[in-house]
Amino acid sequence: VKAIRVLLGVFGVAAAVYGVANLVLTGPPPVVIGRYVIFAAVADVAHDLLLAPLALVAGALLARLAPAWLRGVLRAGLLVSAVVTLVAFPFVLHRGYHPSNPSALPLDYARGLLVTLAAVWLGTAVAAAVRYVQCGHGHGEHGGAGAAPAAGLPDGDRRDPGLGQGP
């Protein structure tokens, strides 16, 4: 295992050095490479200090407001909705559209997003109904609905003392 790890380290560093070296030697001028770094840093900070905290807040609210039996299903619905909205966002804005080329980005993406979200929440409602029947009120952690239980992105089972602490 140790040998494999060392090999992985060597290959990884080699690939990264290959990328950096080619970028510096054959790539665009340093100013442009600087823009790569800024773009990556902005993406990283936007995730770490905006997107992730928002998800944690949503999860904490959910833990406080939603009944336990509904929580997992609701989290799953919110997770799907949030990520789909994020990915669809550049399409909804339609900034890449050029009037001379109507076949590129030809659809109404705001409508597409709404249709997708409607389907997601229909699915979420069905899953919630199944949970309700399976568990009744207030006993959220029982039963074994394969796709539904206690799913979701965010933090915040603070009020479930039985489940122990996270890392």
């Binding site: 380290g9 990884g12 690939a15 997992g72 990520v83 789909v84 030809p106 659809l107 539904a148 089972d157």
Partner: protein
């Protein structure tokens, strides 16, 4: 001597760094800041394996696509199967989209580590964290630029997408391989240990992430997978929408070739051992062949058309090109890096490779490359030069 140097290095790497004062340990840095019982080594390992798999698929298909467009001397890309590139590039884009929820869930699962205390225990720890920073920033960079590119929102990227996406992929995958090496024992341990108390919740989270990937795929993959086109409400392309029922990547207006392409004085020049100059009527008088071939875009969409025109190998014979010759097709378009492409010898020989004059039974639309364009099996659309003005035989 060597041993002493080794000891010194290890010592240097593991010498404790001074910890910051404890009173700075506030907010997310507190030990009890993150409480979700969902987070576990097992969950992170499983998400990591899935994410690593998607990144590997994207890297391999991406490097392949790059190699086809800029072939090194040792690389040869066959002309068959005709639909291969449509599959590899469709997989590249679809897998990149699937990687978005995986990456976000993976980052959530290790989010508390961002606020580790102390921020750096020793130099080894600091290096390890730096490599994770490269991996995270690189992963976010690749997925963000990839999606902006298929959304054609080039203005949001203050650089040329292709170069950036390619070289940052090398750096990111390098950091990924290092990361796998660093974390391998943890992954092995977590997967061997088996399930823990909150397993139902963990499975629920994995199911939700899978559902997200599924919804994203269903809403987009119809841009290349025909049976799913009807439900592809977020697809950047619709294989049936476009002039003559086929999408266009770059219009004649965008390429600024409208006047040149319509000019009655248009002549195709073929440079070879016996150079030739042909009018479009003359081209249409040569033996015509009809083939069914897809346009397979680097952006991950593809659509099949019925193309009619002159076989490229007939044109090569006409100008007395030697066997094994390659062909550079030059567009009437000027001023961008996509104005010409070299067809490999295998594609020049292939009877499916045409200089097409017609599409789906009618003369080529201006946006599809009128007066004539290259159409070849198993090549990215970007290499199937439109508005061809000159063909140059290369030995």
């Amino acid at each position: 001597m060597v041993r002493r140097a080794g000891t010194t290095l290890t010592g240097l790497l593991h010498r404790r760094l001074p910890a910051p004062p404890e009173r700075l340990r506030v907010g997310p840095f507190r030990a009890d800041a993150f409480t979700s019982p969902l987070r576990s080594e097992r969950l992170t390992s499983q998400l990591g394996i899935a994410l690593g798999t998607t990144f590997t698929i994207c890297f391999v298909t991406g490097i392949l696509s790059h190699g086809i467009q800029h072939p090194p001397s040792w690389f040869a890309w066959p002309s068959r199967p005709a639909d291969l590139y449509r599959v590899t590039q469709g997989v590249h884009v679809a897998t990149g989209i699937v990687a978005v929820p995986l990456l976000l869930a993976k980052l959530w699962s290790v989010y508390p580590r961002l606020f580790e205390w102390p921020p750096a225990r020793d130099l080894a720890h600091a290096l390890s964290r730096a490599s994770v920073l490269v991996l995270v920033a690189g992963g976010l960079f690749e997925l963000t630029t990839g999606i902006l590119n298929i959304a054609r929102w080039y203005a949001a990227m203050p650089f040329f997408f292709t170069t950036a996406h390619h070289w940052v992929a090398w750096i990111t995958v390098g950091a990924l391989v290092v990361h796998i090496g660093v974390k391998l024992p943890i992954v092995v341990r977590a997967l061997r240990r088996g399930s823990v108390a909150v397993d139902a919740s963990r499975r629920g989270l994995l199911a939700a992430v899978t559902a997200t990937a599924g919804v994203l795929t269903l809403a987009t993959v119809g841009q290349t997978l025909r049976p799913l086109t009807r439900i592809a409400v977020l697809a950047p392309r619709h294989p049936d929408i476009g002039p003559q029922g086929l999408p266009v990547n770059r219009s004649a207006v965008q390429a600024k070739v409208t006047d040149l392409a319509r000019d009655p004085a248009y002549r195709l020049r073929i440079d070879g051992p016996r150079p030739a100059t042909l009018t479009r009527a003359r081209l249409a008088a040569l033996p015509q062949h009809t083939v069914e071939l897809p346009i397979s875009c680097v952006e991950g969409w593809s659509a099949t058309g019925h193309w009619t025109g002159v076989r490229v190998r007939d044109l090569l014979a006409l100008v007395g090109a030697p066997p094994g010759a390659r062909l550079r097709a030059e567009s009437l378009e000027t001023g961008t890096s996509y104005t010409h492409a070299v067809l490999p010898a295998s594609h020049c020989r292939d009877p499916l490779t045409l200089l097409a004059l017609r599409l789906n039974g009618a003369p080529l639309d201006l946006d599809h490359g009128y007066p004539c364009r290259i159409i070849a099996p198993n090549l990215p659309g970007v290499m199937q030069t439109k508005w061809v003005g000159r063909l140059v035989v290369l030995p």
